[in-house]
Structures are given as structure tokens and as C-alpha cells.
């Protein structure tokens, strides 16, 4: 019987998160490796097939070239230890706070330009710097209600930021469904780990959206705005709406009247106060942006300016996650927060700088070039994998529009064992933690979406390029949970039956443990 990790290839040039270069399984994965070994490869494979079938039936899909496909979920979880995570969590929170401050500044006083920390043209030449958003003051100061900060681990295992997504980051729905799928597929394995739960996300999101409602509205009507069922992330839009108990609206369901946004219901027009929009700026309001768009609703932006509706995330956020701006984020953290960045960037050349440009053009075949406003891995050229013709094209493109490109060294993303045709093989992954800002605190969902490139050696993990995902487990404490503990709970003597809590506790297990230690309560 072949074990799950038998013959797993190791490498010294990339960091494998489960198996060290000497073939030793890292501590966090110890238990999973043992349990997979006990199952045997065939059983693991069967379970993997079960996941794929259940995603197909549940319709956990994304749109791939016009076709609905189940989103591939790999059977091997990604495991992050508590101490590693707390560093990531703080780093992500720090980044979001700096980006919030930056957005407030560039749609206001532009102090950072006055103080010569950032050249004015970097802001004003950004395609996503929308003058129409100037002067719209968010009620509770929040513009980045939801963010997804993409991280990678380099060859040393250091987490680095790859890009910031503060417009309409997607993927969180897979975090929620992946956990449910893993629980039903690998109950034995999930049961022996103490994993921080992810199910609180919709509650947190709804709370943040309600907190952003226009002032004076007691019971705000929060809606999710989708471009419609043919959008690649439609599954996510409907899942979030369902889990929050909100209405999922399309542009044609909305209408503006006298600076207010209303929706068409069977009982006439009813007011809308907060719009969690999943429609890009450009398509949101034909009055302000593309006048050929029918996905949004005319007059939305005026309603937002009048303070009658909150658009989340705010219009114009794209100026902060532009890939050129990315290279300045460490400076923004120092300038706005007076702190040193906790999570480093990947080294980045700005091609509008003549010195940088010259160097990069000489080394095109070694570097990765990215268009500054591309998303979903679109337009990225990986130098070592490109042929001469592609590089020539690239050179012309860069010279034509240097502001439109950045260059980075090829970073060997870390790998994790992944179930493929031949068995368990290392595949490259990244990580997108999601953060919610409710105006008081930036909350980071424990874990986030681990995307995995399913082809051997592939470095692009986007689902639009055939990537899959992994369930991401953030361990609590030492991460172990033994059967013995669970049984002892079940056999509590009758007299000490735990009281039913009157309000649902929203504290995380880690926080709960602390509180219980203080109050001497029962472990749960």
C-alpha cells in the first residue's frame, strides 16, 4: 500500500510548506501526513472525487470561458500555525489601515503629495483615480470595507505581499464552502485539529455594512449588487447575499429618485441604504462613467455624494491597488502610521523611472512584467517562460506606456502537496487573506483563500487560468484536539450541564480559551 506522501519530491530552490528539503514533514502537517498515510492513496483519491462531485451538484462554480465549472478544491489542506498567522494578521491589518489613510488623503487634502512622499503624477495618472469621487465623505470613514491582500511565501518561507485588492476582491465564498466540504470529506482529520472557524465572515461583513449606513438610518436596507448570473463570480454574490439575508439586486432592479436609491419590489419602490457592490467602478453609474453600461444604475454616485446611500467598497479605491502604487505602500505605512511594514513587498522596478527601465529592458528574459491595472493574471509576462517574439512585443509595449508596467524578479512561490493524476506532487500556491473594516477595527478572516496552480511548475494560480484552491487552516493554540477531550465533554455529569448562552458568542476559540481560563469555565 502506497502512503499519501511516499515519493514526494523535494527541492531546495522552493519552499515547501509541508515537507522540508530533507524530506522531513513539518510539525504543522505531522498529523495530516500520518492520517493520510493511514487512509492510503486510493482512499484519499476517492474522497477527492467526492469533493469534486459535491461541488458540481451544489453549483460551487465559476465561469470559465463562458462555461460554468466547479471550482477545483484540493484535498490536502494548507495549514498555518498560530504564531505565523498572528504575524500575517497584524501585517494585513496594518496594510489596510495605511491604504484607508491614503484613500482619505488622495480624495481630500493630498497631504502626502504636499509633503513630497509621493509624486503627484503617480496619483493623477492612475486610471482608477476618479475625480467624480472627490469629496464623497464616507459616514464612518471607511472606504475599504472589504479587502483581499495577496501574499506569497518566497524561497526562505517569508510571507510577502504580492498585490493589494481594495476594489472588489473575490474568492471568500470558496473559503466558506471549502471548509464545509472538508468537514464532510475528512471528518476524522478535521476532528483532530483545532482550526479557527471561518463561518463568522458573513456576520462580520453585514455588521460592517450596516455600520457604514447613512447617518440617521435606524434599520438600513443592505443589498448586494451583482452584474448578473453571467458574471464569473456570480456564485459568490448569491452566496454572500444568502448568508447575510440580503437581497441580491441587479442594476435594473434599482432606480434613483431625488438623490435616493430605490429598488423595484412587488410592493412598489423601496429605499436602499447600503450597496455592497460587486460591479466595477466603470459600470456602476452610466452618468459618471461609461454611458453605454446597463449593469449599474444611473445616478448612484450623486446619491452617494448626497449622503443618502453608501457604496461599498467606495468608488475610486482602485488608485490604491494599482500595481505602481503597490511599490509605494511601504512608504505609505511609514508616512501615515509611523510604523515599519510588517509584511515586505516583492522587489519592484517602476518602469517610468528611466534608470529602472533601462535595467529591466536589459533583463526582460529574467523578470516578470505586469500591467499595473491588470487583474486575474491577465497580461502578465514571465520572462524565463517567454519566447523572443513575446519579449519583443513586451519591449514595445513598455516603451509605449512605461507608467503601465512594473517588473518583479521571478519569485518561486512556495509549494504544498497537491493531489494530481500521478499522486501527491508539489504545486505552487499563494494566499489571499480577507479583511473587513467596520470603522472600529480591521478584522482579518483566519486563513483566507489559498489558490493553487494545478499544472506542474505553473506560477499563475488564478482560477481564470485553470487554478484551484485549498482549504486554509489556521491552527489555534498547538492545533491538536484529541478524541479523548471530545469524549470527556460528552460525558459531563448531569449537574454541570453547560448553560445555553443567551447571546451568540462571536469570540474566536483563542479568545474564548483565554476568557475561560480567567473565569475558570469549562473548556469547550
Amino acid at each position: 500500500m502506497a502512503g499519501a506522501f511516499t515519493d514526494y519530491p523535494t527541492s531546495t530552490s522552493t519552499f515547501d510548506e509541508a515537507v522540508a528539503a530533507d524530506g522531513r514533514v513539518r510539525a504543522a502537517y505531522d498529523q495530516v501526513a500520518t492520517q493520510f498515510e493511514e487512509f492510503g492513496l486510493d482512499d484519499v483519491r476517492n474522497r477527492a472525487e467526492y469533493v469534486s462531485k459535491s461541488y458540481h451538484d451544489q453549483g460551487v462554480t465559476f465561469d470559465y470561458e463562458g462555461e460554468e465549472r466547479p471550482f477545483p478544491l484540493d484535498i490536502v489542506p494548507r495549514i498555518i500555525e498560530a504564531s505565523t498567522w498572528s504575524h500575517v494578521e497584524e501585517g494585513v491589518g496594518q496594510r489596510v489601515r495605511a491604504l484607508e489613510a491614503f484613500l482619505a488623503d488622495v480624495y481630500g487634502a493630498m497631504q502626502i503629495v504636499t509633503d513630497r512622499v509621493l509624486p503627484r503624477h503617480v496619483v493623477t495618472t492612475s486610471k482608477h483615480y476618479h475625480r467624480v469621487a472627490y469629496g464623497i465623505q464616507p459616514v464612518n470613514g471607511v472606504r475599504v470595507h472589504v479587502s483581499g491582500i495577496d501574499l506569497i511565501r518566497d524561497a526562505e518561507g517569508t510571507f510577502r505581499v504580492l498585490e493589494d485588492n481594495v476594489r472588489i476582491p473575490s474568492g471568500v465564498s470558496y473559503v466558506l464552502t471549502n471548509r464545509r466540504a472538508m468537514t464532510s470529506t475528512l471528518p476524522e482529520v478535521v476532528g483532530t485539529h483545532r482550526i479557527r472557524p471561518v463561518a463568522a465572515y458573513p456576520d462580520r461583513l453585514l455588521r460592517a455594512l450596516r455600520a457604514a449606513a447613512p447617518s440617521g438610518v435606524q434599520d438600513p436596507e443592505v443589498v448586494v449588487l451583482t452584474p448578473g448570473p453571467y458574471n464569473s463570480a456570480y456564485f459568490e454574490h448569491s452566496l454572500l447575499a444568502r448568508l447575510m439575508g440580503c437581497r441580491l439586486v441587479e442594476g435594473r432592479d434599482l432606480v434613483t429618485q431625488g438623490g435616493r436609491v430605490m429598488m423595484r419590489t412587488t410592493h412598489g419602490l423601496q429605499p436602499v441604504h447600503v450597496i455592497y457592490r460587486r460591479v466595477d467602478d466603470d459600470f456602476l453609474d452610466p452618468v459618471a462613467f461609461r454611458n453605454d453600461s446597463v449593469l449599474g444604475c444611473p445616478g448612484l454616485l450623486n446619491a452617494a455624494r448626497a449622503g443618502n446611500v453608501t457604496i461599498a467598497n467606495a468608488v475610486g479605491n482602485g488608485v490604491a491597488d494599482d500595481k505602481l502604487m503597490y511599490s509605494y505602500v511601504p512608504d505609505l505605512i511609514r508616512y501615515y502610521l509611523g510604523e515599519e511594514p510588517l509584511l515586505p513587498n516583492v522587489d519592484t522596478w517602476r518602469l517610468e523611472d528611466p534608470g529602472h527601465r533601462e535595467e529591466v529592458l536589459d533583463r526582460l528574459d529574467e523578470l516578470v512584467l505586469k500591467p499595473v491595472d491588470g487583474s486575474g493574471g491577465k497580461g502578465i509576462v514571465i520572462g524565463p517562460q517567454a519566447d523572443a517574439a513575446e519579449l519583443d512585443q513586451l519591449r514595445t509595449a513598455v516603451l509605449r506606456d512605461p507608467r503601465g508596467w512594473i517588473a518583479q524578479p521571478v519569485v518561486q512561490l512556495s509549494t504544498i502537496p497537491t493531489m494530481v493524476e500521478e499522486g501527491m506532487r508539489p504545486r505552487h500556491v499563494d494566499l489571499r487573506p480577507f479583511a473587513i473594516n467596520d470603522g472600529e477595527k480591521v478584522w482579518v478572516l483566519p486563513g483566507g483563500l489559498t489558490r493553487v496552480a494545478l499544472g506542474e511548475g505553473d506560477l499563475i494560480v488564478n482560477s481564470s487560468r485553470g487554478g484551484g484552491s485549498k482549504d486554509t487552516w489556521v491552527l489555534s493554540g498547538d492545533g491538536r484536539r484529541s478524541r479523548f477531550q471530545r469524549q470527556s465533554q460528552r460525558s459531563l455529569p448531569l449537574g454541570t450541564a453547560p448553560q445555553v448562552a443567551l447571546t451568540r458568542s462571536e469570540a474566536e476559540p483563542a479568545e474564548q480559551e483565554q476568557q475561560q481560563q480567567q473565569t475558570g469555565g469549562m473548556p469547550c
Partner: protein, 306 residues
Amino acid sequence: MLSRIAESLYWIGRYLERAEDTSRLLEVHLTRLLEDPVVDEEEVSRILLRVMGIDDEASPDHHTVLQLLGWDESSSTSMVAAFHGARESARRSRETVSTEMWEAINTTWNMMRGNRLQHLPAHRACQLVRERCAVVGGIADSTMSHDEGWQYLLLGRSLERVDMTSRIIETAAYSADGPYAWTQTLRACGAHHAFVRTYRGDATDQRAAEFLLVDRLFPRSVLFALDRAEEALQALEGGTRVPSTEALRALGRARARFEFGALEDLTVDLPTRMSDLQRTCSAVNDAVSSHFFDGAGQTVWRAGVR
């Protein structure tokens, strides 16, 4: 609730019922071709297709019928197309329909898509469609909140049932001289067993027609379905003091005609009566969409996804 979602739910109701009823109709048709030694295949196929709104088939046989009413995804009258309509409408209102209901619909669609039904024996395929529709309907009944959205689902389902039952009866009426015509029709409505139990040995064509048209206890009779549709509409109007919509008035008129008309007149000129009933359904549909769905309508019988 959002007008668009209300409309989706209404169409889920209609499409599911349409898929189910089409499968009944199809199965009975195939049985008849097999069991009746003197049947003229082309003639009965033509009648069936005409009743279902297809007039232009030159010399239809059971293959054509199977394609057009069974599997052809591009034919708007096929049960597969109807189910696809239900699935797309459910996809558009996925945050509103219950998770279990969505999964039941989606799983069924995965069983049907890509011509999968064609590889089954025709009877088995028809049975599968009916069973899956029953599963979806049952899950909807027990997992959806019986709120406004539910009433739209019920309205769509009941209205479609009136329409389809009238089409089934119309096919029987065209071949009323055949000895098995009404037996087959009862089967097509899933009513044979209930009918036999109700009338024991005393079964006549007249009684069969009565049973399908005005029986108060049988859920697929025209009167029963009209009643249900009316109830749902009344619930949606929220107890206004006078029947306020054209839809409600049209339904009421149709119901009164069946409820209080003389029994012996029921079977006189049945095809015309049934066509009238179908026109009423279409008028009610238009009135419902312009009143509740904010004119987003322009939906005709075969308009596709809403």
C-alpha cells in the same frame, strides 16, 4: 420582495410543472402507440404536437415527438428545455430559494444536461423527470418559507397546471372515439388510480371528463388548480376589499364557469373550451406580470428564462 425575484419564482413554478406534465403526456403517448393496434401514428403525433403549439411538422412520428417534447434543448416545448428554464430561474434567485431546493434542481440538471436523458429508455427518462420534479417540489414545500415568494411559486405552478391539464384534455377530445382515449388521459394526469377508486366499476367517459375538469379533491383537476391559483393571487394582493387585479378577475370568471356550469354541458365542444382556458391562462400570465413584475414582463409562453 424584488419584482425580478418574484418573477423568477413564478417561472420556477411554471417550468417545473411544465417539465413534469410534459413527461406525463409524452409517456402516455408512447404507451398508446405501443398498445393500441389500430392507432395512426402520424395522426396522433400531429394532434399532440398541435396541442402543444407546434403546427409545422410535416409527417411527425414518435421520434419527432420525442425530440420536440422530450430532449431537444433548442425546442422550447421539450421537458429538458422546461427544466433548464427552471434551473436558470433558480440560478437568478439563488439567494432566495432554499439551499436544498437549489441543490435538488442543480443535481437534476446535471443528470439531464448534454443529452443524458436520450441514453435512457424513453419511459425511464420520463419517469426520472417526474420523480425529480416531485423531489424538487417536495423540498420546496418543506424548506422554503411560505411567504410572498412561495405564493408566486404556487401561482406559477397552479397556472401552468391549468394550462397543461387543458392541453392534455384537448388531445383526448380530438380522439374521443377511441376506446382508450379517456383512460389514457386519466393516466396522463396521474389520475387513473384516483378515478378508479372514486367511481369503482361505474367509469364512463363523461365521468372521466368530470373528474379531470371539476373534481374538488383531485389536485390535478382544472377546478382544483384554478382554485389554488386564485388563493395564491388573493394572498399576494394582501386582502384588498375588492378583487383588484385583472388577473384575479379572469381567474374567477374561469373558475365560476367550471364550478357552476351544468355538468352535462361539460363535454360539449371540449376542444374550444380548452383553447379558451389556455387563452385565459395566457391573459392571467400577462396581467400578473404587468401588475406585479413592473412590466418587466413581455414574457410570452415560450419566452425563456425569467
